[in-house]
Symmetry: C2
Subunit: 188 residues, 2 copies
């Protein structure tokens, strides 16, 4: 039978440095080449969101897909390194590149929400809860906080607030939480 044939798992062990816990399985060969490509958030106003994600967080808009008959557009952004920016493919190759990367942010704009004064999206951090936040790591948390202050970014939690002084949370234009961490402060 096809199903039992496909499910006769060929696995490779998890790396010895990784965490072994109840529930953790070996890696199925069928997942070879899978990649965690993107996270999608709905946004009210693309102009404001593009200003924030490019002009504050320094992302690059790689791809836009417009579905005018269904009244929505999709924006795909990445925070690229200088080397990546200098070697970006073009055209169709850029679209394929976009869907092969890790760490892509997809923003969905349903037409008209930007003109609806009372309209807002749900951040996931009040009831009903679910999604919590996205996170950017930064080389220097204090410098990043000064930069966000200079740009008038709203904070959900400044580093000095609460118990965890090595992390901050800012808010994007829709109120989604963005954690800010300095990786070398995150050892246990």
């Amino acid at each position: 039978m096809t199903v039992s044939h496909v499910s006769s798992d060929i696995t490779v062990p998890q790396p010895s440095q990784s965490v072994q816990l109840t529930g953790v399985c070996d890696i199925p060969s069928q997942s070879s080449g899978f990649r965690f490509n993107h996270t999608m958030l709905r946004i009210k106003d693309p102009k404001r969101s593009l200003e924030f994600y490019t002009g504050v967080l320094g992302m690059t808009l790689l791809c836009v897909k417009r579905f005018e008959q269904m009244s929505f557009d999709l924006y795909f952004l990445a925070k690229l390194s200088e080397a990546e920016r200098q070697n970006l493919p073009e055209g169709d190759d850029l679209a394929i590149y976009t869907f092969r990367q890790r760490g892509i942010l997809e923003l969905t704009h349903n037409y008209g929400t930007e003109d609806d004064e009372g309209f807002s999206y749900h951040s996931g951090n009040s009831e009903p809860k679910g999604f919590g936040h996205i996170c950017f790591c930064v080389p220097d948390l204090s410098a990043a906080v000064a930069w966000f202050d200079a740009k008038g970014v709203a904070f959900q939690k400044r580093p000095e607030e609460g118990k965890m002084n090595n992390i901050a949370f800012i808010k994007d234009p829709d109120g989604y939480w963005i954690e800010i961490v300095q990786a070398d402060l995150m050892a246990d």
Copy 2:
């Protein structure tokens, strides 16, 4: 004044291959080294989620942070390549590595939800909407669908359903949507 000094932007232009639209800004030097590190989702039952994300999608559990006094744990996973698995750092270096990567998935478990039969999280795709989905790219969409069928994974949308036959949506154990795409089918 500090604020105006910090905000005197030194920028680099967006790459010419990228999309220029109203709202897109040049890249501020202050964002140098920023990286889109992770996306956080709350989960009801860590055993079920770890089985799914490791045993079906082939991820690796890199780091667990336990906050017993606050009754929650955090699980950090990545879908690594074979070369990455063979070169993983250990211990504190692995925690720092985790917070420097792109494409990390953070799962938050608040104690007790796994034993609360009626408890569930909000996927973001019914009212109130916000977060939409995460996405994995795969080398072969048909083979991935056969694998998910063999593992009994629930589909939100099979490739042949709806208008877009080059994408599928599966559901994770909490009902969060996971888009599945084959990158080379995603050119415009």
